[in-house]
């Protein structure tokens, strides 16, 4: 009896404790909830903030529901008030038009602010790295215009440096997603889309295509490896020395539908990325951003 009472009393704490344990203990299992860069972090904050704000309304509503259904059930001897004709209350209605308006107001305001904020690069005083990404059937080709190397299905970035991914597609539209670094962006034929990401710490971050592109779509996973600047430089040199170059013919081969392993190239046809964009550049330029 006592034990049960104790259990009932402490139930909320137990539940909360479990929840915290769950979040803390297995957070790395949940890449979206374990962001490792400024973009992912601000999105994470927004996720948590919106979840709390919404819980503020959801939890009471559910409690009220349980109470009402219990209190007013039709059984003999239920002496709760019964007012079958009462169907209007200006005051009450004002209250529940007001509450959602207020919540949506607050959330909307934060949303608008963050939306504008996230368009800018995460850190301003560092020179960013640019990586051009082409989604193919069914693999990812990464090109480093400054280093003149290319990789398939993985890329290295220096830790702590903002990276500008420029995305396009030479196949059906895909979406480039590295959950621990930040949210996704579509890669579309004929367009070059920009996505800023940054890894604060060294680590291997899993990424995937997120927009369905056909049979091999499930295999379009890739790795983003964040390394200290020095090992990044060493890695670039290594590739320049040991990997074969990507030729025009090699690209045509790569483009054919199929899946691929990690690959690297010491060079690639100059202007390949722009050629791909322009070849598929379809819509009048006024429609593009």
């Amino acid at each position: 009896m006592k034990l049960r009472k104790f259990f009932m009393r402490s139930k909320p704490f137990l539940v909360a404790g479990l929840f915290v344990f769950f979040l803390a203990g297995c957070r790395s299992q949940f890449p979206v909830l374990d962001p490792q860069g400024p973009v992912g972090k601000s999105e994470y904050q927004l996720i948590v903030f919106s979840a709390i704000l919404i819980a503020v309304i959801v939890v009471p509503v559910l409690l009220i529901l349980v109470y009402i259904v219990y209190r007013y059930r039709a059984h003999l001897g239920n002496n709760a008030p019964y007012t079958p004709e009462w169907a209007d209350s200006k005051l009450l209605e004002t209250v529940w038009w007001g509450i959602p308006i207020l919540i949506v107001g607050v959330l909307g305001w934060y949303t608008v602010n963050t939306t504008f904020l996230l368009v800018k690069p995460p850190v301003k005083d560092v020179k960013p790295l640019t990586i051009q990404v082409i989604s193919l059937d069914w693999k990812w080709l990464f090109q480093y215009p400054d280093q003149q190397i290319a990789t398939v299905n993985y890329c290295e970035i220096p830790e702590g440096m903002p990276v500008q991914f420029v995305l396009t597609s030479d196949a059906p539209m895909n979406s480039f997603w590295v959950p621990q670094l930040g949210g996704q962006e579509y890669s579309m034929p004929g367009m070059a889309m920009r996505l800023w990401l940054q890894a604060d710490k060294t680590g291997d971050y899993a990424g995937s295509g997120a927009n369905f592109t056909g049979r091999g779509f499930a295999h379009m996973r890739f790795q983003v490896l964040a390394r200290p600047q020095s090992s990044f430089n060493a890695w670039v040199d290594q590739i320049k020395k040991t990997s074969p170059p990507l030729t025009q013919a090699g690209y045509q081969q790569l483009k054919k539908p199929g899946v691929a392993d990690h690959m690297s190239y010491s060079a690639y046809p100059p202007g390949l990325f722009n050629d791909v964009v322009n070849k598929n550049r379809n819509h009048p330029s006024s429609w593009r951003r």
Binding site: P100, V112, F217
Partner: protein
């Protein structure tokens, strides 16, 4: 692909045991139905009583049966997918097969299950509820049904002939263009939806006209039951949204058929245009299907709490706002497509704004229950369970509306969990509540409550077991439409749990079928016509309603017209007053809607395989059907007074 150079092995889908067994099942069931009909001499009956019927009640029942069959098909698809995903690296479905199945599952569930089930409720309830003898255009109503039916048949045919579509339920180009989807699958998709879509548009027009023009005298708009209001709002959305779908798919077909460049990768095409257009229909579409569910809940809550609906005016107003707002949120389906911060911010806020009227409705339902007397019969159970499901699903919807956060949810299992929660918890539970509620009115008997409780709990437990883990899977980075995944990702346990939940829901469905079969024999007959102590006009007449509905058109003096009448009328005298009947004009049955839809089917089939001659022949048949209709002059007949007296007496309505 191309004109007519298909071999038999392209035509019939081959090489897969699942498909062969489906072939066998289809052939066997068709043969047994044919055998049964011939053996029992039912062909004439089927033709006279059902196929040519323009009676809204019968059309409603046919919609319902077709929708339940489609729920079965879509549900089997779902279980196949969940089986494949239960554990990593399973070889149960191949990639191609998985892609086809999620595409047909999504398309069937929305367009060939939710829409017809909704039209079933429109048809069965609206005329009775507003005191009308039929819809405004009964012939058109039959046309709508048969177009839906043959559209759905055409779509389903792709499973065994030609191959199913596999580019997702919205068929985004360039993937759905000939370059990447060369087979007939996408053509089946386009024509199946186009043909049934014409029917849906016509139904929207029909019900707007019915509700605006056919209400019983005294039923002002603000005295109309909330279900009728929900149908009106939904139909208005249909009228504005469906033409967008028709045009979009027509353009896609021109791309595929004639090599145009609207949405492809080359020649000035723009796939983003398609994505915009399809969601300009797609988002309103989800409100089309959920608004009538809101209507059902309003009726059920007030009946089973024995209380007037709280805040009637707010309820009406909020539905109308939702109808309008639903056209201004479509971009939230592709925040990550590179629109500027200004555009994304605008659509984030409009999306959140929809939560306001929706939230108000929830509060009004709660306060209808408050100080009521709540009976937990089946319709009410489903309604009560809708509230937590929809509140949580709506809340995650608001989270998705936060544009920058959506960059992390988009295309992930978080999204899958969200939309199933609102589609099942809102739409499916809502229509179930409606079916349980109006079932006695349709068939004259009640459904067994004990089996119904089993179905209810299995569905509900299964629902949370299936979809709650998927929110977490979204946070784990699992994207939608993947047919397989590795052990290393840690997605296995939650996926397994989710699959268990899906099978619990499947068991719930089995219980429902059992419940119906059982109740046909053992269900309690509804002799009063008012088994729930209802409030609106449909409960004032016998169950099932006579084919002309009201022997005398009722006079409406207030909201909850039947409830008011019951309050004022002594128990015994009810319905027994001596009345003077007048002859009733009714529309005649017609075989033209059926024949015309068959021609549409032929046309669609022809164009799907690029057999232009067949396609044109089908269209010519459609034209001839229309022409034949225009030469019909006597389209009504009169029911004499003696017949009305006879029918009413047989139902115990004349003393």
């Amino acid at each position: 692909m191309g004109n007519g150079n298909l071999t038999a092995s392209h035509f019939f889908v081959t090489g897969d045991p699942l498909i062969y067994s489906a072939d066998a099942a289809i052939i066997l069931s068709v043969l047994s139905i044919l055998f049964f009909l011939t053996r029992c001499h039912k062909w004439g009956w089927l033709w006279r009583e059902w196929i040519t019927s323009v009676d809204h009640k019968k059309i409603g029942i046919m919609y319902m049966i077709a929708a339940m069959l489609m729920l079965f098909r879509g549900g089997v698809d779902a279980l196949l997918m969940r089986t494949q995903l239960a554990l990593p690296n399973l070889q149960f479905l191949r990639a191609q097969h998985y892609d086809e199945i999620f595409t047909t599952h999504g398309t069937i569930m929305i367009l060939f299950m939710a829409m017809p089930l909704m039209f079933a409720l429109f048809n069965i309830v609206v005329p009775l509820q507003i005191g009308a003898r039929d819809v405004a255009y009964p012939f058109l109503n039959a046309v709508s049904f048969w177009l839906f039916f043959f559209g759905a048949m055409l779509f389903n045919l792709s499973f065994v002939i030609g191959g199913s579509p596999d580019a997702g339920w919205l068929a985004y180009p360039p993937l759905s263009e000939t370059a990447f989807s060369p087979g007939p699958g996408e053509n089946f998709y386009i024509w199946g939806i186009q043909i049934s879509g014409i029917g849906s548009l016509a139904t929207g027009i029909n019900f707007v006209a019915t509700i605006l023009k056919m209400r019983a005298p005294g039923m002002k708009l603000m005295r109309m039951p909330l279900f009728a209001w929900s149908v009106l709002s939904s139909s208005i959305v249909i009228i504005f949204a469906f033409p967008v779908l028709t045009i979009t798919l027509a353009l896609l077909f021109i791309d595929r058929f004639a090599g145009a460049h609207f949405f492809g990768m080359t020649g000035g095409a723009n796939p983003m245009m398609y994505v915009n257009l399809i969601w300009m229909w797609g988002h309103p579409e989800v409100y089309i299907v959920v608004l009538p569910a809101f209507g059902v809940f309003s009726e059920v809550v007030s009946t089973f709490a024995k209380k007037r609906i709280f805040g009637y005016k707010s309820m009406v107003f909020s539905m109308l706002i939702i109808s309008v707002l639903s056209f201004f949120t479509w971009v939230h389906h592709f925040f990550t497509m590179g629109a500027g911060a200004d555009v994304n911010a605008f659509f984030a806020v409009t999306t959140m704004a929809i939560a306001i009227p929706t939230g108000v409705k929830v509060f009004n339902w709660l306060f209808t229950l408050y100080r009521g007397r709540i009976t937990m019969a089946s319709p009410m159970l489903w309604t009560i369970s809708f509230i937590p499901a929809f509140v949580v699903g709506g809340a995650t919807g608001v989270m998705l509306a936060v544009a920058p956060a959506d960059y992390q949810y988009h295309n992930s299992y978080f999204l899958i969990a969200h939309f199933h929660q609102v589609l099942i918890g809102g739409v499916v539970f809502g229509y179930f509540a409606g079916l349980y509620y109006w079932w006695p009115k349709m068939f004259g008997f009640q459904l067994d409550e004990r089996l119904g409780k089993w179905a209810f709990w299995l569905w509900n437990i299964g629902f949370y077991v299936c979809f709650m883990p998927q929110y977490a899977l979204g946070f784990m980075g699992m994207t939608r439409r993947v047919y397989t995944y590795g052990w290393d990702l840690g997605w296995a346990p939650l996926n397994f749990v989710s699959t268990v939940g899906a099978f619990l829901m499947g068991a719930g469905f089995v219980f429902q079928v059992w419940q119906i079969l059982y109740s046909i024999r053992h269900g309690r007959r509804d002799l009063t016509g008012d088994p729930w102590n209802g409030r609106t006009l449909e409960w004032s007449m016998p169950s099932p309603a006579p084919y002309y509905n009201f022997a005398q058109i009722p006079q409406v003096k207030d909201r909850d017209a039947w409830w008011m009448e019951k309050q004022q009328m002594p128990e015994e005298g009810r319905g027994n007053t001596a009345v003077k009947y007048e002859p009733i004009h009714m529309p005649k049955n017609s075989g033209i809607p059926f024949v015309m839809a068959v021609f549409w089917f032929i046309a669609g089939f022809g164009f799907t395989f690029h057999w232009i001659a067949l396609g044109i022949a089908g269209l010519a048949g459609v034209g001839m059907s229309l022409l034949a209709r225009s030469f019909q002059y006597k389209m009504e007949y009169e029911i004499p007074v003696e017949e009305i007296q006879r029918v009413e007496a047989s139902m115990g309505r004349i003393g």
